[in-house]
């Protein structure tokens, strides 16, 4: 067993362990943290396959941004695990049925003739993986690349349209108004007669 294979087994074992943790953790926040661990070890597997770009993107986009969103969603939904666990036995037959159906489908697909073919050897690259992606992404596939920008803009507009709410009656500081204010706006001097003290009457 080479050293590389050993490292692969270590990272795969951690990936599987954390993937099981995602579905078994009682606390949804822990489940999200297990998912982060699974992403990290998957990124390590990508790097072992010499697909550094995918590994970096997995850490950068999924761990850096998507998991933050996941955690916000978990906190926003205010999940109470006790009420979620209610009716577990009632729904279990349907759950088992779905699990068996999905497993049968997967076995049928994997056993089919379409997948029964020798694994092709990876074509040796004369440069790194990232360069190979870059050389075709910005030249041959430039049109889908610009479409990706449009899709991202659509996502920006959709997110703003769905979640931006103006809140009424927010007490907010307006520094400009504070600086511009003059004494006459705030202070009123009232002329009045001197009053005797209470005890001297």
């Amino acid at each position: 067993m080479t050293f590389e294979l050993f490292i692969f087994y270590v990272f795969s074992a951690v990936t599987l362990f954390s993937a099981v943790g995602v579905v078994t953790a009682r606390n949804p926040v822990y489940a999200a943290l297990f998912l982060i661990l699974a992403f990290f070890t998957s990124a390590a597997t990508w790097v072992l396959l010499e697909a550094e770009f995918l590994g970096v993107v997995l850490v950068l986009v999924y761990v850096g941004a998507v998991m933050v969103l996941f955690l916000f969603v978990i906190m926003m939904l205010d999940i109470n695990i006790d009420t979620l666990k209610e009716g577990f036995t009632r729904y279990m037959p349907i759950g088992i049925l779905v699990a068996v159906a999905v497993a049968a489908e997967m076995i049928l697909v994997m056993k089919s003739k379409t997948f029964d073919r020798p694994i092709p050897e990876a074509a040796p690259l004369d440069s790194s993986n990232t360069e190979a992606i870059g050389e075709i992404l910005y030249t041959e596939y430039v049109y889908p690349f610009e479409i990706a920008a449009v899709i991202l803009v659509v996502a920006i507009i959709a997110a703003i349209a769905l979640t931006l709410r103006r809140r009424e009656g927010v007490k907010k500081q307006d520094q400009g108004a504070q600086i511009r204010t003059r004494k006459e706006d705030r202070l009123r001097i009232v002329k009045m007669k001197t009053e005797a003290k209470q005890g001297e009457r």
């Binding site: 992404l137 990706a148 703003i160």
Partner: protein, 118 residues
């Protein structure tokens, strides 16, 4: 090729070993005398009320999703920066259009006030 990642692997394993060692030493060497007062939940001096789980404002979600979009933009910039000298002016213009489209979205969210925190 993979040998270049050996320092990363060494770093990972040392970090992992350190974490395990510190937790282990802490649990082995520290005195443990639990008491009723120590085990009770504590919240700034008064009795704990309510749950730690509470609904977060939806605006955090908006900030996170806007962050994801510009994070993806950075992911597109990585391979572009690596091969810029090979793809030349065409690649530069392609990335210019890409960034231009996203800047339209950025101006939209700025003007719309999505970055303001009332």
């Amino acid at each position: 090729m993979l040998a270049e990642y050996l320092p990363v692997l060494v770093f990972l394993s040392v970090g992992f070993a350190m974490a395990i060692l510190m937790l282990l030493l802490g649990s082995l060497l520290s005195p443990r005398r639990p008491g009723e007062a120590k085990d009770s939940p504590f919240e700034c001096g008064f009795e704990a009320f309510g749950d730690a789980r509470m609904k977060f404002d939806v605006r955090y979600y908006l900030v996170a999703i806007l962050f994801i979009i510009f994070d993806l933009e950075i992911a597109f910039l990585f391979p572009w920066a690596v091969v810029l000298d090979k793809i030349g002016l065409f690649g530069l213009i392609a990335m210019g259009i890409f960034l231009g489209i996203l800047i339209i979205g950025f101006i939209y969210e700025w003007k719309k006030g999505a970055l303001e925190w009332e």
